[in-house]
């Protein structure tokens, strides 16, 4: 059953479309990877799911439902009951994501109290359980610790504890390991995946790490300049990419440049507000670009299960189909 379903979701800031008509769904117990360069709209789209887009940002969609409830039309107060309990999110930089003025215990218990309530003793007990669950040693004494007394990895574990406090059905992890060092990254990802399996949560994993997505995600979405350029089962997308952008992302991995002098890179940057090309947004950077691409914006082809937004999708040999 699909947990979260969105159709043609856009997030605009004035004239600028940070997220441009994206559609996807997340099923119960599914891990969905979202990849793409910086500025491709990954974070903004997930913040809009949490209702965290502020004025002047505007969210619009043909459909945005969570467990068949329409998130866009429901009153603020009702939406807040879902935010933080059924849908939870963890962020990129754990060191600044915890409030420096309050103890770890206070910040975990606050989440519990807001959505579930309970006596002081129960809440404290539950907070200790959560800290144990995310692998923090001596959880009882950590309750009274302040965020500046924790390392980055520890802080991220606390953030995860806050996020899973109310047993969310969907967890959004926005580059959860980017700010951490490599050895800790693996631990945090293992923890997330273990929790996801144990609690059968839907997990949206936003990351730059293609290898990680290939390893843990069931399905993957590739975003470019606010649009979904390709999506499908992780194994298919990575073994036989249909979009030139996905192909370029995979080619830029250091592993695929083994034995060569230089890493492969896709020249240019993601278009911003003032340099959006007329046709396909990738056309200035695409190696297979044609005049048709420069003038006409492609539409998404294929099913919701396996879509690609390109005039000439690549065949299994990695060449544009004629």
């Amino acid at each position: 059953m699909s947990l979260l379903k969105l159709e043609n979701l856009s997030v605009t800031f004035g004239n600028f479309r940070a997220v441009d008509q994206i559609s996807y769904s997340v099923n119960e117990g599914e891990v969905l990877g979202i990849v793409g360069e910086s500025g491709s709209g990954k974070s903004v789209s997930s913040l809009s799911l949490m209702g965290l887009i502020d004025y002047p940002g505007k969210v619009s969609a043909d459909q945005l439902t969570f467990m068949d409830q329409d998130l866009l039309s429901m009153p603020e107060a009702q939406r807040r009951k879902i935010t933080g309990s059924d849908i939870a999110m963890i962020f990129q930089d754990p060191m600044t994501s915890l409030n420096p003025c309050f103890t770890v215990g206070y910040q975990i218990i606050e989440a519990l109290k807001t959505h579930q309530g309970g006596t002081k003793k129960e809440l404290k007990h539950r907070a200790i359980e959560l800290l144990t669950l995310v692998g923090i040693p001596a959880p009882e004494s950590r309750l009274s610790a302040y965020p500046h007394q924790l390392s980055g990895g520890m802080s991220q574990r606390v953030m995860i504890a806050i996020a899973i406090a109310c047993n969310p059905k969907l967890l959004i992890a926005d580059e959860p390991t980017t700010a951490l060092d490599v050895t800790i990254q693996a631990q945090i990802i293992d923890l997330l995946i273990d929790l996801q399996k144990e609690k059968q949560m839907g997990l949206v994993l936003i990351t730059h790490d293609l290898a990680l997505v290939a390893e843990v995600a069931h399905r993957v979405i590739v975003m470019y300049a606010g649009q979904i350029v390709e999506s499908g089962p992780a194994s298919e997308v990575f073994s036989a990419p249909k979009h030139p952008y996905t192909q370029a992302l995979l080619a830029s991995l250091p592993e695929s440049a083994a034995g060569r002098a230089r890493l492969q890179a896709l020249p240019g940057v993601v278009p911003g507000q003032y340099d959006r090309p007329k046709g396909c947004l990738l056309s200035p950077r695409c190696p297979y670009v044609t005049d048709h691409c420069r003038n006409v914006e492609p539409t998404s082809q294929g099913s919701l299960e396996r879509q690609v937004k390109c005039h000439t999708p690549l065949n299994t040999q990695g060449r544009p189909a004629a």
Binding site: I82, T83, C101, I162
Partner: protein
Amino acid sequence: MFQFIFRRLSLVIPTFIGITLLTFTLIRLIPGDPIEVMAGERGVSAERHAELSAQLGFDQPLYVQYFHYVTGVLQGDLGNSLVTKEPVLSEFLTLFPATIELAFCAAIFAIFVGLPAGMIAAVKRGTLFDHSVMTFSLTGYSMPIFWWALLLMLIFSVTLGWTPVSGRIDVVYWIDDVTGFMLVDSILSGEDGAFSSAVAHLILPSIVLGTIPMAVIARMTRSSMLEVLSEDYIRTARAKGIAPWRVIIIHALRNALIPVITVIGLQVGILLSGAILTETVFAWPGIGKWLIESISRRDYPVVQGGILIVATIIIVVNLMVDITYGIVNPRIRHSR
């Protein structure tokens, strides 16, 4: 920590020397001397003038007079007023409660209006409310105190008749001086309406004196709050599904207050210097009015002593702010 306090304290000594020198010379630079002022329009003969000068010690060279003054100060003797013959310190202590009362009420006004105004302006930034608060606080900050006082007096006391024009309490009440604080004494006196009369007399002076600190606090709170509201931990709090007011009051305000508290501490100096003008306009019998009158009477010991005490209070408060900040923020304590 002790080294830190000691370092701060050692900086205070040159400040004190500077204050005594400045007040001593400046008051003597003003044309006219205390004897001429005391004599008034009748005038005084040259012989009598010389006689009185010798009596008061004004015939001695300036450096000798300064030496006497400083030796006195070091022994805790600020001298006697030339007009009332009372010790400067005891006069000061009699009048100080009135100033404290006024400054305290002004501070309450400044904090209770400035903090929420700055907070709401930050939350609703870019709106009409934000622009009004910022314009009003800038105007309040730049407006001369005496003019602001006269303006309010004209509107609320003269035209509308809502508040009394000046003084601490209605003349129909005779209040015994127990604590020196009229709000307390008027209750202790048990007289009907005395307390409300005292409160009514406090309203305008408190607003006038509190306007500049209020403007500073409002602007500081707004900018501090704006900075905090864009922090990652505010996003985390909102992602928990907490009500918006709770995010602002609990999560943002607590962090935003840290720099604001320092600023509030520094307003004490502004309150005391502002009291001089406010008290004069409202005929408020505090140290501000006392100092102004002593200047026009060329009452040298009162001017020197009074300013020295006020300066000491400001220095002590600043020192306390520095030290508390050193305790709160270890990075300041260890920097050289």
